[in-house]
Protein backbone atom coordinates (compact mmCIF):
# COMPACT_ATOMS: atom_id res chain seq x y z
CA UNK A 1 0.00 0.00 0.00
CA UNK A 2 1.16 3.56 -0.68
CA UNK A 3 2.88 5.28 2.18
CA UNK A 4 1.80 8.63 3.57
CA UNK A 5 3.85 11.70 2.86
CA UNK A 6 3.37 14.45 5.41
CA UNK A 7 5.42 17.63 5.19
CA UNK A 8 7.99 15.82 3.12
CA UNK A 9 8.31 12.95 5.61
CA UNK A 10 7.35 9.48 4.46
CA UNK A 11 5.23 7.43 6.90
CA UNK A 12 5.28 3.66 6.28
CA UNK A 13 1.96 1.81 6.18
CA UNK A 14 1.31 -1.90 5.95
CA UNK A 15 -0.84 -3.53 3.32
CA UNK A 16 -4.03 -2.74 5.19
CA UNK A 17 -3.10 0.85 5.86
CA UNK A 18 -2.01 0.48 9.50
CA UNK A 19 1.09 2.32 10.68
CA UNK A 20 4.16 0.11 10.63
CA UNK A 21 5.71 2.17 13.42
CA UNK A 22 3.18 3.31 16.02
CA UNK A 23 5.54 6.14 17.03
CA UNK A 24 4.81 7.83 13.71
CA UNK A 25 1.37 8.82 14.90
CA UNK A 26 0.36 12.45 15.38
CA UNK A 27 -2.87 14.36 14.67
CA UNK A 28 -1.76 15.21 11.13
CA UNK A 29 -1.11 11.55 10.44
CA UNK A 30 -4.54 10.71 11.88
CA UNK A 31 -6.19 13.18 9.51
CA UNK A 32 -4.32 11.70 6.55
CA UNK A 33 -5.24 8.14 7.58
CA UNK A 34 -8.87 9.23 7.91
CA UNK A 35 -8.85 10.74 4.43
CA UNK A 36 -7.80 7.34 3.05
CA UNK A 37 -10.94 5.91 4.70
CA UNK A 38 -13.05 8.73 3.21
CA UNK A 39 -13.64 10.16 6.66
CA UNK A 40 -13.42 13.84 7.42
CA UNK A 41 -12.59 14.26 11.09
CA UNK A 42 -15.03 16.28 13.21
CA UNK A 43 -14.87 17.04 16.93
CA UNK A 44 -16.84 13.82 17.62
CA UNK A 45 -14.20 11.85 15.73
CA UNK A 46 -11.39 13.49 17.70
CA UNK A 47 -13.15 12.78 21.00
CA UNK A 48 -13.31 9.10 20.14
CA UNK A 49 -9.75 9.02 18.78
CA UNK A 50 -8.53 10.49 22.06
CA UNK A 51 -10.49 7.85 23.98
CA UNK A 52 -9.13 5.06 21.79
CA UNK A 53 -5.61 6.18 22.64
CA UNK A 54 -6.51 6.50 26.33
CA UNK A 55 -8.00 2.98 26.22
CA UNK A 56 -4.81 1.63 24.74
CA UNK A 57 -2.65 3.41 27.29
CA UNK A 58 -4.79 2.16 30.16
CA UNK A 59 -5.23 -1.48 29.09
CA UNK A 60 -2.53 -2.04 26.45
CA UNK A 61 -5.21 -3.48 24.17
CA UNK A 62 -6.85 -2.33 20.98
CA UNK A 63 -10.50 -2.32 21.99
CA UNK A 64 -13.20 -4.58 20.58
CA UNK A 65 -16.62 -3.10 19.92
CA UNK A 66 -18.22 -4.00 23.22
CA UNK A 67 -15.63 -2.44 25.55
CA UNK A 68 -15.24 0.55 23.24
CA UNK A 69 -18.96 1.30 23.50
CA UNK A 70 -18.77 1.02 27.28
CA UNK A 71 -15.66 3.19 27.52
CA UNK A 72 -17.16 5.90 25.31
CA UNK A 73 -20.32 5.81 27.41
CA UNK A 74 -18.32 6.29 30.59
CA UNK A 75 -16.37 9.25 29.24
CA UNK A 76 -18.65 11.01 26.75
CA UNK A 77 -22.02 10.13 28.23
CA UNK A 78 -24.58 7.44 27.54
CA UNK A 79 -25.94 9.31 24.52
CA UNK A 80 -22.67 8.63 22.70
CA UNK A 81 -21.90 5.27 24.27
CA UNK A 82 -23.84 3.42 21.60
CA UNK A 83 -22.69 1.35 18.67
CA UNK A 84 -24.76 3.39 16.20
CA UNK A 85 -22.85 6.55 17.15
CA UNK A 86 -19.51 4.83 16.57
CA UNK A 87 -20.77 3.18 13.40
CA UNK A 88 -21.61 6.56 11.94
CA UNK A 89 -18.18 7.95 12.78
CA UNK A 90 -16.02 5.02 11.66
CA UNK A 91 -17.91 2.81 9.22
CA UNK A 92 -18.09 -0.08 8.61
CA UNK A 93 -16.10 -1.51 11.52
CA UNK A 94 -15.56 1.14 14.22
CA UNK A 95 -13.11 -0.79 16.41
CA UNK A 96 -10.86 -1.59 13.45
CA UNK A 97 -11.12 1.66 11.48
CA UNK A 98 -10.98 3.74 14.66
CA UNK A 99 -7.89 1.86 15.86
CA UNK A 100 -6.21 2.40 12.52
CA UNK A 101 -6.79 6.16 12.54
CA UNK A 102 -5.86 6.44 16.23
CA UNK A 103 -2.54 4.70 15.56
CA UNK A 104 -3.15 1.56 17.63
CA UNK A 105 -1.83 -1.92 16.77
CA UNK A 106 -3.77 -3.88 14.22
CA UNK A 107 -6.41 -5.93 16.05
CA UNK A 108 -5.50 -9.63 16.06
CA UNK A 109 -8.59 -10.70 14.10
CA UNK A 110 -9.90 -12.43 17.15
CA UNK A 111 -12.23 -9.94 18.71
Amino acid sequence: MDNLVIEGREIALDKEGFLRDLNDWNPQVAAALATRENIELTQDHWDVITLLRDFYREFELSPAMRPLVKYVGQHLGQEKGRSIFLMQLFPPSPAKIGSKIAGLPKPTNCL
Partner: protein, 130 residues
Amino acid sequence: MQFTLVVYGAPHSSEGAATALRFARAALATGHSIYRVFFYADGVHNGSALAAPPQDEQDLLGQWQSLQQSHALDLTVCIAAAQRRGLLSESEANRLEKPSANLADGFTLAGLGQLAEAAAVSDRLISFGG
Protein backbone atom coordinates in the same frame (compact mmCIF):
# COMPACT_ATOMS: atom_id res chain seq x y z
CA MET B 1 -23.52 -36.12 22.24
CA GLN B 2 -21.50 -33.27 20.73
CA PHE B 3 -17.95 -32.78 21.96
CA THR B 4 -15.55 -29.90 21.47
CA LEU B 5 -11.85 -30.59 21.95
CA VAL B 6 -9.37 -27.81 22.71
CA VAL B 7 -5.76 -28.74 21.99
CA TYR B 8 -2.88 -26.75 23.54
CA GLY B 9 0.04 -29.07 22.85
CA ALA B 10 2.33 -28.88 19.83
CA PRO B 11 2.64 -32.24 18.07
CA HIS B 12 5.70 -34.29 18.95
CA SER B 13 6.65 -32.03 21.85
CA SER B 14 4.02 -32.97 24.39
CA GLU B 15 1.46 -35.73 24.44
CA GLY B 16 -1.68 -33.58 24.38
CA ALA B 17 -2.36 -33.71 20.65
CA ALA B 18 -1.85 -37.48 20.44
CA THR B 19 -4.13 -38.01 23.44
CA ALA B 20 -6.77 -35.76 21.85
CA LEU B 21 -6.62 -37.91 18.72
CA ARG B 22 -7.18 -41.07 20.75
CA PHE B 23 -10.16 -39.46 22.46
CA ALA B 24 -11.57 -38.17 19.18
CA ARG B 25 -11.39 -41.61 17.56
CA ALA B 26 -13.09 -43.26 20.54
CA ALA B 27 -15.85 -40.65 20.65
CA LEU B 28 -16.55 -40.98 16.93
CA ALA B 29 -16.42 -44.79 17.08
CA THR B 30 -19.09 -44.85 19.79
CA GLY B 31 -21.54 -42.75 17.81
CA HIS B 32 -20.82 -39.33 19.29
CA SER B 33 -20.01 -36.33 17.17
CA ILE B 34 -17.26 -33.76 17.41
CA TYR B 35 -18.48 -30.25 16.91
CA ARG B 36 -15.05 -28.73 16.62
CA VAL B 37 -11.39 -29.32 17.43
CA PHE B 38 -9.93 -25.95 18.36
CA PHE B 39 -6.14 -25.62 18.26
CA TYR B 40 -4.83 -22.93 20.56
CA ALA B 41 -1.51 -21.73 21.99
CA ASP B 42 1.25 -24.15 20.91
CA GLY B 43 -1.48 -26.47 19.65
CA VAL B 44 -1.63 -24.40 16.45
CA HIS B 45 1.50 -26.23 15.24
CA ASN B 46 -0.71 -29.28 14.64
CA GLY B 47 -1.91 -27.46 11.54
CA SER B 48 1.53 -27.15 9.95
CA ALA B 49 1.77 -28.78 6.53
CA LEU B 50 5.55 -28.88 6.89
CA ALA B 51 5.87 -31.45 9.68
CA ALA B 52 8.00 -34.36 8.50
CA PRO B 53 8.45 -36.97 11.25
CA PRO B 54 10.60 -40.05 10.54
CA GLN B 55 8.74 -43.05 9.01
CA ASP B 56 8.93 -45.09 12.20
CA GLU B 57 7.19 -42.43 14.31
CA GLN B 58 3.52 -41.64 14.28
CA ASP B 59 2.32 -39.06 11.79
CA LEU B 60 -0.01 -36.83 13.79
CA LEU B 61 -0.77 -34.49 10.90
CA GLY B 62 -1.80 -37.42 8.70
CA GLN B 63 -3.99 -38.77 11.49
CA TRP B 64 -5.80 -35.45 11.91
CA GLN B 65 -6.29 -35.18 8.18
CA SER B 66 -7.65 -38.69 7.73
CA LEU B 67 -10.07 -38.19 10.64
CA GLN B 68 -11.05 -34.88 9.09
CA GLN B 69 -11.80 -36.56 5.77
CA SER B 70 -13.70 -39.53 7.14
CA HIS B 71 -15.87 -37.51 9.55
CA ALA B 72 -15.89 -34.02 8.01
CA LEU B 73 -14.19 -32.86 11.21
CA ASP B 74 -14.01 -29.13 11.90
CA LEU B 75 -10.32 -28.48 12.61
CA THR B 76 -10.04 -24.82 13.55
CA VAL B 77 -6.72 -23.13 14.27
CA CYS B 78 -6.79 -19.88 16.26
CA ILE B 79 -5.64 -17.19 13.88
CA ALA B 80 -4.01 -14.91 16.48
CA ALA B 81 -2.06 -17.73 18.14
CA ALA B 82 -1.09 -18.96 14.66
CA GLN B 83 0.14 -15.56 13.47
CA ARG B 84 2.49 -15.25 16.42
CA ARG B 85 3.94 -18.69 15.83
CA GLY B 86 4.25 -18.54 12.07
CA LEU B 87 1.35 -20.67 10.87
CA LEU B 88 -0.30 -18.96 7.93
CA SER B 89 -2.76 -19.67 5.16
CA GLU B 90 -2.16 -18.33 1.64
CA SER B 91 -4.38 -15.31 2.25
CA GLU B 92 -2.88 -14.54 5.68
CA ALA B 93 0.67 -14.84 4.35
CA ASN B 94 -0.31 -12.43 1.64
CA ARG B 95 -2.06 -10.01 3.99
CA LEU B 96 0.80 -10.04 6.50
CA GLU B 97 3.46 -9.86 3.78
CA LYS B 98 5.20 -13.12 4.75
CA PRO B 99 7.18 -15.26 2.30
CA SER B 100 5.09 -18.44 2.41
CA ALA B 101 2.04 -20.22 3.74
CA ASN B 102 2.07 -23.51 5.66
CA LEU B 103 -1.48 -24.26 6.81
CA ALA B 104 -2.22 -27.93 6.07
CA ASP B 105 -5.23 -29.09 4.05
CA GLY B 106 -8.22 -29.83 6.23
CA PHE B 107 -7.45 -27.08 8.76
CA THR B 108 -9.10 -23.65 8.90
CA LEU B 109 -7.82 -20.43 10.46
CA ALA B 110 -10.46 -18.57 12.44
CA GLY B 111 -10.89 -16.24 15.38
CA LEU B 112 -11.36 -17.03 19.05
CA GLY B 113 -15.06 -16.45 18.55
CA GLN B 114 -15.11 -20.01 17.23
CA LEU B 115 -13.98 -21.23 20.65
CA ALA B 116 -16.65 -19.17 22.40
CA GLU B 117 -19.30 -20.45 20.03
CA ALA B 118 -18.20 -24.07 20.40
CA ALA B 119 -18.24 -23.76 24.20
CA ALA B 120 -21.74 -22.32 24.03
CA VAL B 121 -23.29 -24.98 21.80
CA SER B 122 -21.38 -28.24 22.50
CA ASP B 123 -22.58 -30.68 25.14
CA ARG B 124 -19.08 -31.22 26.47
CA LEU B 125 -15.80 -29.34 26.15
CA ILE B 126 -12.46 -30.97 26.99
CA SER B 127 -9.06 -29.25 27.10
CA PHE B 128 -5.92 -31.21 26.24
CA GLY B 129 -3.00 -29.50 27.94
CA GLY B 130 0.45 -29.22 26.47
